[in-house]
């Protein structure tokens, strides 16, 4: 084990360049989701009695398709950032932490992609 202090070991290596990246994009996605989720919640309320055809027609409308894609991307990005903080706060065994973070990223990407593809399929695939 080195006798050098932690600060001594990193000095001179340059900055990490994106130290505020996580914090900033959590806020950016949060602000976007304030508007997107209010729209999404109102839409679901109005769709409470909708038939299969109604829902398909709604998803297929160009404005709705676009807003849904934005909602999906921002939601899963925000979710990934949020769950990452929770894991980093409570899991301190390095290998378990790394594995869990990778699993969360993978799950968010897979679920997000499934949502995006479903919306695009309804909008363009018929």
């Amino acid at each position: 084990m080195s006798l050098r202090t932690p600060i001594g070991r990193v000095r001179g290596l340059g900055s990490a360049k994106e130290g505020t990246h996580h914090w900033w994009y959590q806020r950016v996605t949060a602000l976007a989701l304030v508007f997107l989720l209010i729209w999404f919640a109102i839409s679901l309320i109005v769709l409470a009695d909708a038939s299969y055809q109604d829902v398909r027609a709604w998803i297929g409308h160009p404005v709705v398709t676009g807003l849904l894609l934005l909602t999906i991307v921002f939601t899963f990005y925000h979710l990934k950032l949020g769950l990452q903080v929770v894991i980093e706060d409570y899991v301190h065994t390095e290998i378990v932490k790394l594995g869990t973070l990778l699993a969360i990223s993978a799950a968010c990407i897979v679920a997000g992609l499934a949502c995006v593809l479903s919306v695009l399929y309804v909008a363009f695939g018929g």
Binding site: A30, A41, A48, D49, F76, A114, S118
Partner: protein, 131 residues
């Protein structure tokens, strides 16, 4: 580093209960809960893409007692995370972070959550026209 187990902060047991700490942990719990809820949204969208049979199954599940309980929990979580998230954004802008305002906005978030959740369901039932 010594391998000896030392006490770690925060020492939750030494604090008197405060409403701000309740909102803090609720924000995190509802955030994780909403994460699980996105799986339901994913299932619903896939079902809408997969066809009428799949969609009917999804609607039946969402409309069942268990489905409605999950959906109501999802609604409450969403409204609380949304209201408290807006509160966090004000804090990030440097507004309302003093003790008095932080406590007042805690209460506002809880009231907002109840009003928005109950309101959303009342309107949804009015749209459906049944129970």
């Amino acid at each position: 580093m010594s391998a000896q187990e030392r006490p770690l902060s925060p020492h939750l047991q030494v604090y008197r209960w405060q409403i701000t700490m309740t909102l803090s942990i609720l924000h995190r719990i509802t955030g994780v809960g909403l994460g699980l809820g996105t799986l339901l949204m994913t299932y619903w969208l896939i079902a809408a893409a997969a066809g009428p049979g799949w969609f009917a199954d999804a609607q039946e599940f969402v409309g069942s007692i268990i489905g409605r309980i999950i959906l109501f929990g999802f609604t409450v979580s969403l409204m609380l995370h949304l209201c408290n998230g807006i509160r966090h954004l004000f804090w990030d802008a440097g507004k309302g972070f003093d003790l008095k305002n932080a406590r007042a906005s805690s209460v506002a978030v809880l009231i907002g959550t109840i009003v928005l959740s109950v309101g959303a369901w009342a309107i949804a039932y009015a749209v459906r026209g049944d129970l």
